[in-house]
Amino acid sequence: MAILQIKDLHVAVKDEETHQQKEILKGVNLKMQTGEIHAIMGPNGTGKSTLSQTIMGHPNYHVTQGDILLDGESILDMPVDERARKGLFLAMQYPAEIQGVTNAEFLRAAINARRPKDDQISVMDFLQELDQNLELLDMKESMTERYLNEGFSGGEKKRNEILQLLMIKPSFAILDEIDSGLDIDALKVVSRGVNSMRSPKFGSLIITHYQRLLNYIVPDVVHVMMGGRIVKDGGPELAKKLEAEGYAGLRDELGLKIDLVDEDD
C-alpha cells in the first residue's frame, strides 16, 4: 500500500505579463492511498490543474508553503522523472505532441526507465501487453507506430493517455479532465481502462467537471475545490448534488467569499 499526502499546500505561478507571483493554491490538504479512487470537482480556474501539475513537479509551479509526501517522504525536491518512477502518473489535460518518436518507442522507453538496465522488457512481452491493452481500449494497432500524439484527435489523445497508464502501471494516477471532449462510447472505453487498473496497488485522483464520468468510475471520495482550497469532502452523492445545484449554492452554504468565473455581478 502507498500513501500520497498533500499538506497545507500553497502554490504560486509567475504571471508571464506582470512577472509577479500569483498564489493559486492556498492551503490544500488531501490524503489518499492505493486502493482508493478520489474525485476532485470545482469551478474553472480554481486550481485543479495547478494541483496536479504541482504534484507531478512542473517547473512553472512554485510551492511556497506546505508539502507533498509519498509514503511519508517529501517529493518536493525530486525531479519530474524521478517522481514518475516513484509511481506518480499524470494524464494531462493537453498532452504534448512529438514528431519523430513513435508511440511504441515512447512506451517502451517509459517502461524500461522503471526497470534495471540488465532486465529491460523483451520485445515479445512488450507487444503482448500492448496488444491486450489496445484491445481493451478499442485502439487500432497502427496508433502505436504513429508519432507520439501527433495529429491525434482530441479523443485519441485521451485514449492514448490511458494506454500509457495501463502500460506504465503507476501507483497513483491523476487524471485531469480525461473525459473532456470524449463521445459517449469513448467515455465508456476510457472508464473501462481505468477500472481495469483498480486494485489494492492502485489509486487515482480524477479531476472532472461532469458527474457522468463518476457513474462509470465510481469514486470512494469526492472533493470540491474552490478558490484554491478543498472546501468539502463527501461520497459519490456529493457529485450528484453539485451537478444539480451548481457551485454557487455550495459556496453560499459554506459562507465562502469566492468569485466564480461565470457568475454575473
Binding site: 504534448a96 519523430g100 518518436v101 517509459a110 506504465i168
Partner: protein, 421 residues
Amino acid sequence: MNFDYSQLKTQFQQTLAKSNEPAELTSLRQAAFQQLKNAPLLKVTKFNFHNWPLITNQVQSFSLSEADLQLTDNEQVKVTVNPQVIAVKLPNSLKEQGVLITDLVSATRKYPQMINKYLATVIRPEENQIAAYHTALMNLGLIIYVPQNVQLDGPISLTVNFEQQRTTNFHLLIIAGKNSRFQIIDHLIASQQQETPLTNFTEIIANENSEVHFSSLDHLSQKAPAYYQYRAAIKDYAKVDWAVGLMNECNTVGEIDSELIGEGAHANSQLIALTANDQQLGINNRVTNRSPHSQGLINQRGVALGNSRLIFNGIGQIIHGAHGSEAEQQNRLLMMSPHASGDANPILLIDENDVEAGHAASVGKINQDQLYYLLSRGIPRHQAQRMVIRGFLSAVITAIADRDVRQKMVNILERKLKENA
C-alpha cells in the same frame, strides 16, 4: 585563403603534364586554375573560414579511379567509391534504357559532348576561389545520367569513403533527362585517421519536367575541414528535393543552392546539422526564383552542442519577372549548451511584387512542454532530451527517402548526443 600559389602552380602543371586525361578535362582544369588567384571566396554571412586549410598542395595526381561496372539482374543500383575503386552495380534493365553511371574520365572519353555541355556549368570555376581550385584539381569524380523519360523505382544508393591519405576534391555530376525521375541516396564518410581536407561538389541538371530527389547522410570525421558546394539548375516544371543531413565532426562550410531557372520549377531544400565540441559549421541554403510560377522552399534545422558554432543562412532571392512565384523558408536552431553559439539568418532579396514569400527563424532552447511530458512518464532527462531533439529534426529526417538511412541518421544522432551529454 592561405596557400602557396607558385608552389601549387608548379605542382598543378607537373601533374597535368603526366596525366593522360581527355583534352576536354585538361582545358577545363587549365581555365579553372587561371581563376584561382583572383576569384573571391564564397560569402557566408556571420561565418569566417578565411584561414581554413582548404587549399593544399597535396594533389599529386588526378588519376580518378576508373569505374568498375557490374551488371546485375536485381533492381538495386549501388555505387561504392573508395580510394581503390569506383564499383558500380547497375541492373541490366537500366543499362538498356541508357542509364549511365561511371567515373568522370571514362565519361569524358566516351561522351565528350555531354561533358562539355554540363560539367562545371552549374557551378562555374570563376565564381569563387574554392570552385576554381576544385575544378582545376578534381581527383575523384562520378557522373549519373538518366536519359529522358526514364523513371527509376528504387533509389540510386551511393557510398563514398574518403579514406585516402590525400586531399580529395570530389565531383558528382547528375544529369536528369526530360521527364526522368529518380532518387539518389548519398552517404559520405571519412574517419578521424584522415588528415586532409575535402572539397565536395555536386551539380544537378534537372531538365524539363524531371524529378530528382537527393538525400544524403554525411558523417565526415577527418581532422581537416570540408567544403560543400551543391547546386541544382532546375528547368521548366522540373523538381529537385534536397534532404541533407550533416552529421560531420569536422569543420564544414558551404552552400546548397537551387536555381529555379524554368517556369514552374520547384525546389525543396531541407537540411539538418548537428555540431559538437569545437566544431564550426556555416551553411548557405539558397534558392533563387528566376522564372514565373516557380516555387522554392527552405527548411533547415540545427542543433549546437558543446563549444560549437552553427550558422544557417537561408537565402531566398526572387528575380524581377518571376511573377507568381513562391519562396518560403524556415531556419531553426537549438542551442543545447551555454557555450555554443549560432545564428539562423533569413535573407530575402525580392525584386518582384507578385509573389508569395515568407520566412521564420528561431534560435532557442529545447521545447519544454515536450520535455516535461516525457519526464512525467519517467524517462530520464538525457534520454528525454534526445527524443525531443529528434522530434525537432524529424521534419527533415523523414524527408530522407530510405528507411535504413533514416535509422542510420538517428543512430548517429543518438550517439553524438550521448557523447556530448
